[in-house]
Amino acid sequence: MKFLKLATNNILRHKIRSFLALFGVSISIALTFSILSFNKGFEKNLAKELEGTGLHFMIVSSGCPHEVASLVLHSSVLPKYLDITLIEKLKQYPNLKLISPMLVSQLPNHQKNRIDIIYALDISHLPQLKPFLKIKGTLPSNEKEILIGYEIANHDKLTIGDIVKYGPNQKDFKVSGIIEKTGGQEDAHVYMFLSALQEILNKPQGISAIGIKLSTTEMLEKTIEQISREIPGIQIVTMGQVLNSILNLANSAKILSLSIAIIAITISFLGVMNLILMAIFERTQEIGMMRAIGASKWDIFKIIFNETLLITTGGGLIGILITTIASTTIEHFLRIFMPYMPSGKILVFDYNIAFFCILSSMIIGAMSGLFPAWKATKISPIEAIKG
C-alpha cells in the first residue's frame, strides 16, 4: 500500500467524473502543444524556405505596401510593375550574382471557372529559388509549356502533356511537369515563362519584383544603399524584412490561437479543481477516519495533491499523444487559420515543447490541487466518529 495507490483508487472510484476532468486537461494540453509546435515549425520552415531561395533581397516598385511586397515569393499580386529594362541597370553592379525577375498574376481559368495564380519567372532560376521542389516530368522548356502545382493537377486530374488555356486568346499551354506535394502555396501555383505571362497581360516590359543574390554578403548594406540612391522609383526589401513581415501577418492568428489555448487551460484547471473539491466534500468522513487512524495533515494533503497531479499529468500525456497521432489532421485544420504557410510538414514533435506542456499540466495540477488539498487538511478526525 502506497500513497499513490490510494490516490489512484480515489480517481478510479468516480470513473466518468475523473475521465471528464482528465479529458478536459488532455484537450487543453493537446491544443497548447499543437499551437506551440505549429508556431515553432512555422517560423522554422519559413526561415528555411526563405534561406532556401538564397536571395538576399527583393526589389519592387516604390509605393508597394511593404507587407505585400514581402509576399511576392508567396504569390501576392503587386499593384505596380517594374520595367524589365531595370535588369540591364542592375547588371552594372558587379556584386550581384543572380538577378531574377518575377511576375505574379491571377488569371481566369475558363475551363474550370476559377482564378489561377500564375507565377512567371526565368524558369532556369526556379531550382535555385525553390530548391525543395520535387518535379515529376520536366521544367517548361519554352513559352508554351507550364509547370503546375500538386493540388491543381490533382483537382483537375491533369497529367503531363495535358493542355490548359489562359489569356484573352485562350492560348494553349502544355503541362510539362507536376510539382510533388509541398503543403505550401506551390501546390496551387502555375509556373510559366516570364515572356508568356507578359504577353497575356499585355505588359511586355512588366515585372512584379526582382530577386537579388549577392556574391558576398559583407557588401549587403552598402549595395542596398547604393542601388536605392542610384536607381529611382524602386524599393528594396531584405529577406529579414520579408521574414518579419510574414511573421507579423501570422502574429494575430498566433495570438488568437494562444488565447484559445489559455482559455482551454483555465477551464480544464477549474474542472479539475471542481472535481477534487467535490470528491473531498463527499469523502469528509473518510478523511476524518484516516486522520483518526494515524494520517497527519500532510498525509491528507499528499493524497489529495497526488490525485490532482495524476489527473492533470495523465491528461497532459494523453494530450501530447493525441496531438502526435493526429498531427496531420491538426496541421490541416490549423492551416485554415494561418494566412501564409511555408511548405513542408510544420507540426513536428518537439521534445522541448512536449516537456513544457507536461510541465504546464503538472503546474495546472499543482495549482488546482493546492486549495482543495489545503481544505482537506482542515477536516477534523472527529468527523469520522460523528458519523
Binding site: M1, K2, F3, K5, L6, N9, N10, L12, R13, Q285, E286, M289, M290, A292, I293, G294, A295, S296, D299, S380, P381, I382, A384, I385, K386, G387
Partner: protein
C-alpha cells in the same frame, strides 16, 4: 493503563457553551474490557475521542501509561494514535475500490511501517475472513465489513482498541459475533473499550460504565 481524573469537556456551539463531560474519573488497567453505555448525548463519544487522542480535555487530566495527553502537542497525539490506538467506527469506513487486504494495510502507510500480505493474513484469520483478502468491500456483508475494520484497527499492534457503537449498523447475530471477537482479542491482552446502547451486549464485557449527563453513574 488509562487514568482519567476530573475530566471535563466543553464545546462551543456558537456563543453557547455545551458541557459534554462534567468531571469524570476512571481507572482502566491494562487488559481491561469495558463497555460505556448511557442515553444519547451524555458524552460517550466525547469520552472515547479524548481517550483516543482525537481531542483534548478542557479540564482535568487523562494519562496513557503515565503520560498526560493534555500536555501533548498535535504531533505527539498523532504518534499515539498511530502506535497505541486502534479505532473502530459505527460506519466501518472501508475504502471502496481497495481490496480487503489494502484496507487493512491502510494505517501502515500513515505509520510508515512496511507491512505485507503475510502480515495481514494472520489478522484476517483472527477475524474469520482469511478467504476474503482479495475481495472488495462492496462484496462483503455489514458484519464482515466491521470485522475487516477491526483487522485494520489491529494492524499496527495497538495497546488499546476503541469502538464507538461498532454494532450500531448490524443485526443481533452479527453484533454478537463482533463482541465475541472483542472478547477473544481482549483475552490476548488488548485493552478494549466499546461504546454501546445495547445492555445485553454491554453485559458481555468485564465492566460496564454508565454515563448520565456527562458523569459516571454509580
Amino acid at each position: 493503563m488509562i487514568e482519567i481524573k476530573e475530566l471535563e469537556k466543553y464545546y462551543l456551539r456558537g456563543a453557547e457553551k455545551v458541557h459534554a463531560l462534567k468531571g469524570i474519573s476512571l481507572y482502566i488497567p491494562r487488559g481491561d474490557f469495558i463497555s460505556i453505555t448511557g442515553p444519547s448525548g451524555t458524552g460517550k463519544t466525547t469520552l472515547l475521542q479524548i481517550i483516543g487522542c482525537l481531542d483534548r480535555p478542557s479540564r482535568g487530566s487523562v494519562s496513557l501509561n503515565g503520560i498526560k495527553i493534555e500536555n501533548m502537542t498535535e504531533k505527539e497525539l498523532l504518534q499515539i494514535r498511530r502506535q497505541k490506538i486502534g479505532f473502530v467506527f459505527q460506519n466501518f469506513y472501508l475504502i471502496n475500490g481497495l481490496s480487503v487486504l489494502d484496507n487493512v494495510l491502510l494505517p501502515t502507510i500513515f505509520a510508515r511501517k512496511e507491512k505485507k500480505r503475510k502480515d495481514v493474513l494472520p489478522l484476517l484469520q483472527k477475524v474469520g475472513l482469511l478467504e476474503r483478502a482479495d475481495h472488495k468491500p462492496n462484496q462483503l456483508s455489514g458484519g464482515e465489513m466491521q470485522r475487516v475494520a477491526i483487522a485494520r484497527a489491529l494492524i499496527n499492534e495497538p495497546e488499546i482498541l476503541l469502538a464507538d457503537e461498532p454494532t450500531g449498523n448490524l443485526d443481533l447475530d452479527n453484533s454478537e459475533r463482533i463482541f465475541e471477537l472483542f472478547r477473544f482479542l481482549n483475552s490476548q491482552g488488548l485493552t478494549t473499550i466499546v461504546v454501546t446502547h445495547n445492555p445485553e451486549l454491554a453485559s458481555k464485557t468485564k465492566r460496564v460504565i454508565k454515563l448520565k449527563d456527562g458523569k459516571v453513574e454509580h
